[in-house]
């Protein structure tokens, strides 16, 4: 089985602390009381027994902070029991009997929580407790048989404690399970979002670097290529750099100070005015920087001016960067979706990091590009990596998730606690209380009143239990009536019982009404419950006092009984409050932290894998080209090199088009390749026949790649067709004058053949004409034989 998750783990921890403190809270005062009450002659012996017991409790308390070996702790716990039991005959008297019984009774209950995760140890200690009680009784009053009733009661208490723990733990596990399920789906979403964001960033980088460079090489001849080698090397670096978690901050002012102005005829003189420093997180900082770089390149390419103004300033909790040129301008609406300079490199990048970018332009009025980024207050937990998951304002979402998780855990804890307390109420009422009621019928005045009270209390439990077991909360009115009934039961029982019997063996009600009330009040703060217990004790005290003041000894016994019953109940009330308002939020926070950690691990894993995959896809084709260009082994004056660059540029254009939301992605990607060819001056006719259908992305890659290669090498005219039959999709290109293709043939076959997607490529040449067809059998029914 898995290790306990946050709710269960923290539940166990809280219960352990509760157990230890409860026990210490009983052992310390009782020991002190015992030493004080002991005869002077017995004091040294009592002290030598009780002081080590206190000390053992102290060590256990200390061990809450610094865990010790369980075996040692168990021995200490057993020692407390044995020492307390041994002190019973030493102290002597009724008071000692009641006190020791109370201490051992509380201890064995406390051990069930202290050792909740080691039930054998808990049960072992309970048995030690039983032995100690028997031993104490035998030693202090030899000849008398031990009190079987109190032993049975102890057994009931221990069983109930364990049962209560198991019930609450079951709910904690349920909470953990459902939280884990939710977390898993959220994690998938976060991972997917991060992967998409990285993919977008990667494509934007590719667009600005390798794609732009290769396109320029493919289109140009006889110009100054001196800039090419360093640029190709830079591109290579940009491609191999792993995108992703940039942490820390950057000074945007410093970054913008080194925006490249371009080379040669495309150089743009920047008139820069920056009110620095502008320190922002590095994610948005780099997005703005990369966007500005691309925008400056655009000015050089399209605006027809050689100057631009770059300004940047701080705005409340953010920055604004603006690039303006007085060039020829354009209509942003008319830019085709497949042109990615603006949509991907400038706007898309800013969206990814939670900022925004806008392009304002009209023909003849110049162009203004503006980037905005605003910081947001981050929550204490899970702030890191916020920029990875995309443009959604994360802190708010995290807060909402956290609240929802805490509410879930709290709900389960409450349900478990209510069930557990209900169980205790019912079992206690129908075992210990019922026995007392029947045995002492002759004591009550009148007896029917006590019987009626018993029935009334049972009714309260049944009604409340009915709501609870149907998974509903008790309505406020019912709760009010029930509480009133419980108090009435307390009053009736107090006033129809002879005062000297109060809290004694005949008083079946005193110890049990507190459980019924706790069951009703579990979701409220402990002080409400304390008020009830106060009223309950007040009623009983009033009844006792009204019929004459009790003796000191009687008061002492009553006091000890009261404390051991109500005090214990109150401690459970405090525990429930603690669980709901301390443990549940802590468990929620811990769960969130674990989730965040796991998410980041997964994201990191995926990003590394994705990056390797993407880079591998480029190593066969783009990387060798860039390496050759970067080190001068390939010359842009060589036509073959230019043709290869054109093919690569077209492949990248197709890659960029891959994520477009269009109804016919195959045609969209083909058009992206056609555009590159047309930019080179090739006439391409494109004809489509048949009803288009779904083609997986990896199949599209293989279908289109041969087309890309042929189009890239075509000098004047090509015909491109897509034929959809019910059984297949066939993409064909026929080029009337394809440049010599000794390498093409190989390329067309090797590129992108990682998948076994059954794309058939057929090739026919006749004179200068080259005809290549890539076909894929569609998985749908319909039998058209391709060959």
């Amino acid at each position: 089985m898995d290790a306990p998750r946050s709710s269960e783990r923290l539940l166990i921890l809280t219960l352990e602390r509760y157990g230890v403190w409860l026990r210490s809270g009983v052992v310390f005062p009782c020991s002190a009381l015992g030493i004080v009450l002991a005869d002077v002659a017995d004091t040294p012996l009592a002290m030598s027994l009780l002081l080590p017991a206190v000390l053992a409790c102290g060590v256990r308390l200390y061990a809450l902070r610094r865990p010790l070996r369980p075996a040692l702790l168990w021995t200490l716990d057993a020692a407390v029991l044995v020492l307390t039991g041994l002190s019973q005959p030493v102290l002597g008297g009724d008071g000692a009997n009641v006190m020791v019984e109370a201490v051992v009774g509380i201890c064995v209950v406390a051990f069930q929580y202290e050792w909740a995760s080691r039930p054998v140890a808990g049960v072992g200690l309970a048995m030690v407790g039983v032995v100690v009680c028997v031993m104490g009784d035998v030693l202090s009053s030899p000849g008398q048989s031990p009190d079987a009733v109190s032993l049975v009661r102890m057994f009931v208490q221990v069983s109930l404690s364990r049962a209560a723990y198991l019930m609450v733990r079951a709910r904690a596990r349920a909470a953990d399970r459902s939280a884990a399920a939710r977390a898993a789906s959220r994690r998938e979403a976060a991972v997917a979002a991060a992967r998409r964001a990285t993919e977008r960033e990667y494509l934007a980088t590719l667009h600005d670097t390798a794609s732009a460079t290769l396109l320029m090489v493919s289109q140009g001849d006889g110009r100054d290529w001196s800039w090419l080698s360093p640029r190709a090397r830079q591109d290579l670096e940009a491609l191999s750099a792993m995108p992703g978690f940039e942490t820390g901050s950057v000074d945007l002012a410093a970054l913008l100070g080194c925006v490249p102005e371009g080379e040669g005829p495309a150089r743009v003189q920047l008139n820069t005015r920056i009110d620095g420093p502008l320190v922002i997180p590095s994610g948005p900082g780099l997005a703005i920087f990369n966007g500005v770089r691309e925008a400056v390149t655009n000015v050089g390419r399209h605006a027809g001016v050689r100057q631009a103004q770059l300004r940047a300033w701080a705005e409340e909790n953010g920055v604004v960067v603006e690039l303006f040129d007085a060039g020829r301008g354009f209509d942003p609406q008319s830019v085709p979706a497949r042109r990615r300079g603006i949509s991907g490199s400038i706007i898309g990048r800013m969206h990814t990091v939670g900022g925004s970018a806008s392009v304002t332009s009209r023909p003849g009025t110049g162009t203004r590009v503006q980037w905005r980024w605003h910081g947001r207050a981050r929550p204490s937990q899970a702030a890191d990596g916020a920029q990875v998951t995309g443009g959604v304002p994360r802190p708010h979402r995290v807060q909402a998730q956290h609240t929802a998780a805490v509410r879930l855990i709290r709900g389960q804890f409450l349900y478990g606690a209510q069930l557990a307390v209900l169980l205790i109420s019912v079992v206690w009422q129908f075992t210990v209380s019922l026995r007392r009621l029947t045995v002492h019928q002759d004591v009550y005045r009148p007896a029917w009143a006590q019987t009626a009270a018993f029935v009334c209390l049972a009714a309260v439990a049944v009604i409340g239990g009915a709501y609870l077991l149907r998974g509903r909360q008790i309505p406020p009115r019912t709760r009010g009536w029930s509480l009133g009934s419980v108090l009435a039961v307390s009053a009736v029982c107090a006033f129809t019982l002879p005062p000297e019997q109060a809290t004694g063996p005949a008083d079946w009600a005193f110890g049990v009404v507190g459980w019924h009330a706790l069951f009703l009040l579990a979701d409220l703060r402990a002080r409400v419950y304390a008020a009830f217990l106060g009223a309950h004790m007040g009623l009983n005290a009033t009844a006792v006092v009204l019929s004459g003041a009790p003796s000191t000894a009687e008061s002492a016994v009553m006091g000890i009984s009261t404390i051991s019953a109500c005090g214990f109940q109150f401690s459970v009330g405090v525990l429930v409050t603690r669980l709901l308002h301390g443990t549940a939020p802590a468990a929620g926070t811990a769960a969130a932290r674990e989730e965040e950690l796991r998410t980041r691990e997964r994201i990191h894993e995926h990003m590394q894998r994705d990056h390797k995959k993407r880079y591998r896809a480029l190593t066969a084709t783009t990387v060798p080209l860039l390496v050759g260009l970067g080190h001068g082994a390939l010359s842009p004056h060589d036509e073959e090199v230019r043709l290869r660059c054109g093919v690569e540029a077209a492949r990248m254009r197709r890659l960029f088009a891959e994520n477009d939301a269009v109804s016919d992605p195959l045609l969209n990607e083909l058009r992206a390749c056609v555009e590159v060819a047309e930019d080179k001056g090739v006439t391409v006719s494109l004809a489509v026949r048949g009803q288009h259908g779904e083609v997986p992305v990896e199949v599209r890659r293989e279908l289109i790649d041969p087309v890309t290669v042929i189009l890239g090498r075509t000098r004047s005219t090509a015909r491109l067709t897509v034929v959809w039959t019910p059984g297949a999709v066939r993409v064909s290109v026929i080029s009337e004058d394809c440049a010599d293709d000794s390498s093409t043939r190989q390329n067309a076959q090797t590129h992108g053949r990682a998948t076994d997607s059954k794309v058939n490529v057929a090739r026919t040449t006749r004179g200068k004409s080259v005809w290549v067809e890539a076909s894929w059998r569609r998985p749908v029914a319909g039998g058209v034989d391709l060959t």
Binding site: P726, I734, T764, R766, D785
Partner: protein
Amino acid sequence: MSDNAPVGVVVVDDHPAILSGVEAWYAASRRPITVVAAGASVQEAWTAPGDTADVVLLDLQLGEGGPAFGSLRRLVDAGRQVVVYSMRDDERTALNCLDLGAATFLTKSEGRQHLVEATLAAADARPYMPPALAGALGTNTRPGRPHLSAREENVLIEWFQSESKELVAQRLGISVRTVNSYLDRVRIKYANVGRPARTKASLVARAIQDGLVDVDDL
């Protein structure tokens, strides 16, 4: 009609540039083709001298209205051989025209290579299959379409893709003649399931007479 007799054509097209282009192509034909009448309205085909032309060359998109399917139907019903010559390059239009009984369907971008041959074929009631039409027939999924063999379908598609019978023949390892016979057979099959019309009957009759198809095939 004998295989070398001159052919008379009435050209219905509302674009003067197209008209003159068509006349120039016809003038270059090895077998004389005469444009007996030309105009922007279908009326030309119903009135002298156009009403006796062997072939009607019909632009489907006349004026502002939609495709002139009604005019086509009336011409076919009157027993005329109609070559539809259209800007529209989609399979729906091509299939509709064929269903209505057009002799063949040509897109305007195919004019230079195929107009003369298509006209002569129509005059002789011989089948003719330009690439755009072949693409439409090869991907036809309409109910009631004739059953084509896999080879026939493949030839149709490859002819559409390459626009070169030589390349198709080379790829399939057959002769250009065989490629043509596949295409013709498909055309006959379509004619056989099409609307009853005199043109259809003559197409099928001629095909059987030429030994293109067996009566058993149909």
